[in-house]
Symmetry: C2
Subunit: 394 residues, 2 copies
């Protein structure tokens, strides 16, 4: 890696400072030792490596703050069954649903999971993603949950995207067990043994109740974990409201919040992570009201929710487009949703913006107009990606 | 270019023969002089160049049969205004809408338009597209319409994607003119002078009436042109029904067909070209009933409708995903929609399938399971593209 890096001739340098995009026209970003040192316009410091952005948009590396990227198997058979007109019940009968991923992931070796995960991370980098959060939750037993988190950590070290981990052992109840008993096991036997940046739970009909979720998150908090929640995806159980009160860093999905819930998120400063590919893919067609959230003062992040069952796509550009088209976000809000606000959703203050001391995670986009990024529906506009100052081809 | 090419070890070779995908497992495709010579499994002929597909899906090059890829300017400002909550009227007042593209395209030099178009074609090839149809219609005067068609033809010769052209001078009425008078001008002054594979008209409220459209297409037919129509996108005027009766090769959009319209398309063998990115982008949320069309025996093609105003995306993978998710197509039907049926929509019999004598337009996909192609929503799965036997990187 070169010691110093200068990216010059940035037609629109999106610093993400302030409340908008903090655009510097014809700006530069100068980095040393993997950190941003100077952002500005006019005369720039000399560097070991100088990259001419040719007037294009340059912005902080994208942050995908909600994925389930460590798993085995594929659920493309379920997509086919659904397209063939089969019902959800038919699909379950054919062995589909989350438990098929759980079975495949339990059986998979660490080496196999690592190979899969590294492939996904490579794809993600091609979309300009330089930081990603990965959840466990396809093990639903001690051994596999630990294995998934370990694979995520190892994968994070083996390539250039920074990986954060979330323990989601409470993703759903394993087959043949009762939610209450399983959750007791997770709390007492698994939670004290896992290493993860966050703890998360799926509070939903068919998964865990509000009461169970509260008890679980309280325990996680006692153990020193930072909290997240999967809430209000299909039904409103009060999950996000509860998690916000407990000081959760983020509430994820948020498709069916009440006004009171939204107010609570605004009060507590909890980030709402919106996942627009999910309603498109599942056919739910009920999208989170991003506009109402932002208007109420909630900070909103956008993510792919990449997973094999309900969002088999790493296309964060599509997520941005859908956030504007279906969730009422402005172009600027969508761009902040995958940078500065996604960093907040991961409790990270060292990235997502261009300022002195921040990580030199940078994307050069193949456009001179930032508005085209979500406008060109689902098109990957990445030209070059830098992680900690190191350059990668698309 | 090498004389002979062998692609071996094709885990799933989608020949598109018969009514499904005509899959050959572990197959090969052998080509000479840019044409397919042999498709099969087992012992393959020796070739000058052999490519190992490594067990992946190999299929005919994708055909995007409905685009407006020659234009100047950008309409990303309109996307921003809309996301900002501005009304359609506000956008028109701000100089938006089709006439902004018309103005920019009229002013643009041939060289500028050619540069733009070549960039789009390069992007398209990265999506595995090897044949594309391009319409005029952003000139609305003799000079510019002729210029657009010429640029499309020249662009087709300057790179490897095969380009077909459609004259859409009757895209809308130019500002300050009356539709009847403008159409008379197009029929008498422009139509006899243009060179194009097809003639098309936009039959819609605010564009041209059913009666005007019929008269126009009849005239085009007399002049020996093959016909297409933009019909039933926003309102049902009977456009597709009328065009089918006149022997149109395809009816495009088809979002609001009656049962009788569908029956007519089935009777006449007219291809229905469905454009699912448009309702997503425009927020119309009324998708063509692909299922009903196919069940009635209509041959259905899928296309991006790439254009700056209502579908600024070349992502044909997203179009396939949406065709399954929103239009009721099966996985197999979506794949046929961008190959064999897209060829039919362009009246081409030499591509879209793998058989002796067909063009060696081939895509190797980065998956071993064809179901993942539309399942991985909006993800570009192309690994390698061949046009007439010539290999290109993604």
């Amino acid at each position: 890696m070169v010691k110093s890096l200068l990216i010059k001739n940035c037609g629109q340098l999106l610093t993400m400072r302030g409340n908008g995009l903090g655009i510097i026209k014809n700006g530069f970003v100068y980095c040393e030792d993997g950190k941003v040192v100077k952002v500005g316009k006019g005369r720039a410091p000399k560097a070991d490596r100088t990259i001419d952005a040719e007037g294009k948009v340059v912005m902080p590396g994208l942050i995908d703050c909600h994925t389930h990227a460590v798993f085995a198997g594929s659920r493309a058979n379920e997509f086919k069954l659904r397209a063939d007109g089969k019902s959800y019940l038919d699909i379950l009968k054919a062995g589909g649903g989350i438990h098929s991923t759980v079975n495949a992931t339990r059986k998979a070796s660490k080496a196999h999971l690592l190979t899969n995960t590294l492939k996904h991370l490579k794809d993600m980098r091609s979309y300009g993603i330089t930081t990603v959060e990965i959840k466990s939750g396809y093990g639903l037993d001690l051994e596999t949950e630990v294995k998934i988190l370990e694979v995520a950590r190892v994968a994070g070290k083996k390539q250039s995207i920074n990986v954060l981990t979330t323990f989601l052992g409470a993703h759903t109840c394993p087959k043949g067990q009762k939610p209450r008993q399983y959750l007791k096991f997770v709390m007492n036997e698994v939670l004290p043994k896992v290493e993860a940046d966050f703890v998360d739970i799926f509070c939903e009909k068919g998964a865990f109740t509000l009461r169970q979720s509260r008890k679980f998150l309280k325990k996680a908090k006692e153990l020193g974990f930072k909290l997240k929640i999967h809430g209000e995806q299909i039904n409103r159980l009060g999950a996000c409201n509860m998690a916000a009160k407990l000081g959760a860093v983020s509430c994820d999905h948020c498709d069916r919040l009440s006004r009171g819930d939204i107010k609570k998120l605004a009060q507590t400063g909890t980030v709402a992570v919106l996942l627009p590919i999910v309603p498109l893919y599942t056919g739910e067609d009920k999208y989170a009201d991003g506009r109402a959230l932002i208007d109420a003062g909630v900070r909103v992040a956008i993510s792919t929710d990449f997973n094999p069952g309900s969002a088999p796509s790493k296309n964060i550009f599509l997520a941005m487009s859908l956030a504007c088209l279906e969730m009422g976000l402005t172009v600027e809000e969508a761009l902040r949703g995958v940078t500065v606000n996604a960093a907040l959703a991961l409790d990270l203050s060292d990235r997502g913006v261009f300022a002195k001391g921040k990580r030199a995670d940078i994307v050069i986009m193949d456009t001179t107009d930032y508005r085209e990024i979500p406008c060109f529906v689902g098109e990957n506009l990445v030209k070059k990606v830098f992680t900690g100052g190191e350059m990668h081809p698309k």
